[in-house]
């Protein structure tokens, strides 16, 4: 394996390890750590992720999402300028072509699928600029992510918002949905 690691991430996640078909000890050797140290680091990484990944219907904009969504979010950022909003509205595909985004990200933008954009690394404060360019209220965007109509969503808010009870963990959502 030595000599062939150039260009590969020095520290790969388990999914990448599966692709590369490395054993834990091979991967550990690549980064100059013992197998035990590597397992400890991975466990730590998992623990770090686990504490908020259990929150249902919520995507925390952490390092991995920020990295995946960089160009998607910077596209949205560009819409703060009036002339860019005009150029985007005039020809969406041509404008999106200026940003090195993935095909999935482009597709999600074209579909205005906010949940999908978030899955692909979008952050809501950036995505809101796309909504503003479309002339949509923030409540319109929020409703679109919840599966409610804007009227239903507005009514839920008037009734005091989405209750925290039953909405704390994925387990609670699993139970609710049978």
């Amino acid at each position: 394996m030595t000599g062939a690691t150039w260009g590969r991430p020095r520290y790969s996640c388990s999914a990448q390890r599966a692709c590369l078909r490395l054993t834990i000890s091979e991967e550990a050797a690549q980064i100059g750590a013992s197998a035990n140290e590597l397992v400890e680091r991975k466990t730590h990484e998992l623990t770090m992720a686990a504490d908020y990944d259990d929150i249902p219907g919520t995507t925390v904009f952490d390092a991995k999402r920020s990295r995946a969504g960089y160009h998607l979010n910077m596209f949205c950022m560009s819409l703060l300028k009036a002339e860019n909003r005009e150029a985007f509205k005039a020809n969406e595909d041509a404008y999106l072509g200026r940003f090195p985004m993935s095909a999935e990200q482009r597709k999600a933008v074209r579909a205005r699928d906010y949940n999908r954009m978030i899955e692909l690394g979008g952050n809501i404060y950036y995505l809101a600029k796309l909504g503003a360019t479309d002339g949509h209220s923030f409540q319109y965007i929020a409703a679109s992510m919840t599966g409610l109509t804007q009227e239903q969503y507005a009514q839920m808010m008037l009734n005091g918002g989405r209750d925290i009870e039953g909405n704390r963990s994925k387990a609670e959502w699993a139970k609710k949905n049978g």
Partner: protein
């Protein structure tokens, strides 16, 4: 010697700015919201602070993913309102207070807080909505403002404890400034709200009330709230509440709560508001 005389905290929901700018404050939806600030407008008019420090977060306006400072202090002469996608708010340009701002930057850095110094910055609704709520629609804002931006967009934001300790460092900085200034500090953002994903619209009245109680009586307890607890209990954007702890840290241990207001909903959020005077 300059001193901090009081602290005020409130949500900074952008729809409030839009309601003011588009003349909708008399509509039934908005009447109760602005009623909650009638006392506050009178209070701040009487207080006449010489300068205000406004702790808020930039919402991908002045900062993007290119540069993400955890704490950034506005040291410029002035801060124009930003275009956030629908044209800039028609509110006065925010005048800074470079003398005190630079002093706070130097003092907090030597106090081991690694402050980013900002000499050019446009300010978004996070800063201008609280000014509108407290001061209405004047020709000029009645006092100069020192913006303090806290990153709460990119995870992780600074912890509540760190924010509280920064507040204490800001107080030391203000008290070592050799001019007699009465300083008001704003903590903004929150309260419970979630703007993204299938759980959007979350609100947690119990959490908000406990947070308001804690601010007055036991802020140290609030500094122990972990990031994941904010995310889970107060929603993914409720974590903005750490900025209220900068304000609280800058006050005396003993404060008097002179006003409190809580209202659901404002757009997608629970709105909270509190005024604390040093005792």
């Amino acid at each position: 010697m300059a001193r901090i005389v009081a602290g005020v905290a409130m949500s900074h929901v952008p729809a409030i700015g839009a309601a003011i700018d588009n003349g909708k404050t008399g509509e039934p939806y908005w009447v109760p919201v602005f009623k909650g600030f009638e006392f506050s407008k009178e209070w701040i008019r009487k207080l006449k602070p010489d300068v205000a420090i406004v702790v808020y977060n930039d919402h991908a306006t002045a900062f993007s993913l290119e540069i993400i400072p955890t704490f950034a202090l506005g040291c410029a002469e002035e801060f124009p309102p930003a275009d956030e996608g629908w044209g800039p708010r028609r509110v006065p340009v925010v005048k800074g207070h470079p003398d005190l701002a630079w002093h706070i930057a130097q003092s907090t850095i030597l106090d081991e807080f690694d402050m980013t110094i900002v000499n050019k910055m446009e300010v978004d609704h996070g800063l201008t909505v609280p000014l509108s709520l407290m001061c209405g629609t004047p020709e000029e804002w009645p006092f100069p403002v020192i913006p303090l931006c806290v990153n709460v967009v990119q995870y992780p934001p600074p912890t509540g404890h760190r924010c509280y300790m920064l507040g204490k460092a800001i107080r030391r900085a203000v008290e070592s400034f050799d001019r007699d200034l009465r300083v008001l500090i704003f903590g903004t953002g929150g309260m419970s709200h979630q703007l993204q994903g299938p759980r959007a619209g979350l609100s947690n009245r119990k959490f908000d009330y406990a947070f308001l109680d804690g601010l007055t009586k036991d802020p140290e307890a609030l500094t122990r709230i972990k990031p994941v607890e904010y995310l889970r209990e107060s929603g993914s954007e409720g974590i903005e509440l750490v900025m209220w702890l900068v304000m609280r840290g800058a006050l005396n241990d003993r404060v008097e709560e002179v006003h409190r207001f809580h209202h659901i909903p404002v757009s997608n959020s629970s709105l909270g508001h509190i005024i604390l005077e040093n005792r």
